[in-house]
């Protein structure tokens, strides 16, 4: 907050009243602005954002009561004080009901004004401070995941960096046996880093935030980009990845970043569970109010008894034979959570040794 003196707006139709209040306030360490009627007062509240408002209840045009009604919409934390020539209990009570902090019956002494204004300003400061703390707490919560991610990852990444340099032979020769072990240590650390990433992703997925970022997306373009990005992995596994092309753009309503993650996870799985020479086929079609994206592979498939659980967190199909698959067991849970946040669906069908098909349905704009 700035070091500026607090600003008090005086709304009164009597010039003498405006002048005398201004004089008193200026001498007491405040800044003062004046308005001669309710309409001008409301405009100044909007334009200048005063801390406190002194408002006369009886004015031509917009009444003091109406100003009280409307100023909370302009600044919910502003502190209004009413001035009234008719210091009736009724009008004072009504003003307080409408949110006035206090009232000053005319005539009042400079000291009475100063006391009320100072007390009101203390209240304003407390409210603003509480508000700032609330905002800060919210920011902290939002940044918490990013900070935790950083704190967890930093030391691991530095360990990885030592391994990288040692394995590259840049700090001296390393014998075969220790080298082999460092390779293994590096792989385990890699797995741990992936797990932290996935875990944090799962915690970070928040329906409200995803919905806030909704825009119209050309799903085919997005998939083309992802396939391009994953081409090296597909080549490494000897798997062909294809996308059928639609004549017209197929549009979905969604959050680009999280949907990229859904399809990265699905295509990644499809490639890794398919034997060399196999293929992964992506098929797009309109399905009523949805676009259905099928990710179909010719991989090892999933046995019927496992199918109901594959979207569960940390569920991994244990295989008696074949090489151990690297993964955290969170990829499909993440995908499902994101698709659910889009009000879409994700389904699977599979035949052991023939392949699996995952179908994601996303709403059209």
């Amino acid at each position: 907050m700035t070091e500026q003196k607090p600003l008090v707006l005086i709304i009164d139709d009597e010039e003498a009243m405006r002048d005398s209040c201004t004089q008193i306030l200026l001498k007491s360490g405040f800044r003062a602005e004046t308005a001669e009627d309710g309409a001008a007062g409301l405009k100044k509240i909007k334009d200048l954002g005063p801390d406190l408002v002194l408002v006369d209840l009886k004015m031509p045009g917009i009444s003091g009561f109406e100003v009280l009604d409307r100023l909370k919409n302009l600044d919910p934390h502003i502190i209004p004080i009413v001035i009234t020539g008719y210091a009736t209990v009724d009008s004072a009570v009504e003003a307080m009901k409408k949110g006035a902090y206090d009232f000053l019956p005319k005539p009042f002494s400079p000291e009475e004004l100063r006391i009320i204004i100072r007390r009101a300003y203390e209240r304003r400061k407390l409210i603003l401070e509480a508000e700032a703390l609330r905002t800060e707490k919210k920011l902290l919560e939002e940044n918490f995941i990013t900070m935790v991610s950083h704190q967890l990852r930093s030391p691991l990444v530095t360990i990885q960096q030592y391994f990288e340099v040692i394995l590259a032979g840049m700090v001296g020769p390393v014998d075969e046996k220790p080298k082999e072990m460092i390779f293994k240590a590096r792989d385990r650390l890699d797995g741990l880093l992936h797990l932290i990433n996935d875990w944090l992703d799962l915690a970070r997925i928040n329906k409200g935030q995803i919905v806030d970022k909704f825009k119209t997306l050309d799903i085919q373009k997005m998939l083309e980009k992802l396939i391009d990005f994953m081409r090296p992995l597909a080549q490494e596994y000897g798997v062909a990845v294809e996308l059928n092309t639609a004549p017209a753009p197929l549009l979905v309503l969604g959050d680009e970043e999280s949907l990229e993650q859904v399809f990265t996870n699905l295509i990644n799985n499809a490639i890794k569970y398919t034997k060399p020479g196999g293929r992964v086929h992506l098929n797009l079609k309109i399905d009523a109010g949805f676009i259905a994206v099928a990710v179909e592979d010719t991989g090892i498939g999933i046995a019927k008894e496992h199918l109901p659980f594959i979207f569960d967190q940390f569920y991994q199909v244990h295989r008696s034979q074949g090489k151990k698959m690297k993964g955290t067991g969170l990829g499909l849970s993440i995908a499902k959570k994101i698709v659910d946040a889009h009000n879409g669906t994700i389904d699977v069908s599979s035949e052991p040794d023939a392949g699996s098909t995952f179908i994601v349905r996303l709403p059209r704009p």
Partner: protein, 135 residues
């Protein structure tokens, strides 16, 4: 006449990371100097005039790295070293490499010349440095 080796400034608050990355740079016969925080970085940039800067973007805050880079590229106090290439180094890599990529240009901030994820692969890092030093 022999030309002196290019000098590379590593800015990172993690001393172990600085130690682990130095042998990579030394293996390619670069001179390595380092700084642990933005203030030290500023002093070294101006006094040592490095040929290239490796800058961790997550020092005290995400903002430090971004604003230091922006300052080097635009601020008058860095006028002498304005053309020094800057590579962002970050441990916060995400899928498809996009999530934590530099987005400061949306706020009118000048970005780095290149971007690399931690842990850096020695060959990848050296290739990127060589490319920037040549241009």
């Amino acid at each position: 006449m022999t030309k002196t080796s290019p000098k590379i400034l590593v800015i990172d608050d993690d001393p172990d990371f600085r130690e682990a990355v130095a042998p990579i740079l030394k293996s390619a016969l670069y001179d390595v100097i380092s700084a642990a925080n933005p203030a030290e970085a500023k002093e070294k940039i101006l006094s040592e005039k490095p040929d290239l800067i490796l800058l961790d973007i997550m020092m005290d805050s995400l903002f430090d790295g971004f604003s230091l880079c922006h300052a080097i590229k635009t601020s008058p106090e860095y006028a002498d070293v304005q053309s020094t290439p800057v590579i962002f180094v970050s441990a916060v890599k995400e899928i498809a490499g996009s999530r934590f990529q530099f987005k400061g240009d949306e706020q009118g901030m000048i970005g780095p010349d290149d971007y690399i994820d931690k842990p850096v692969k020695p060959a990848d890092l050296l290739a990127r440095i060589e490319k920037l030093l040549k241009s």
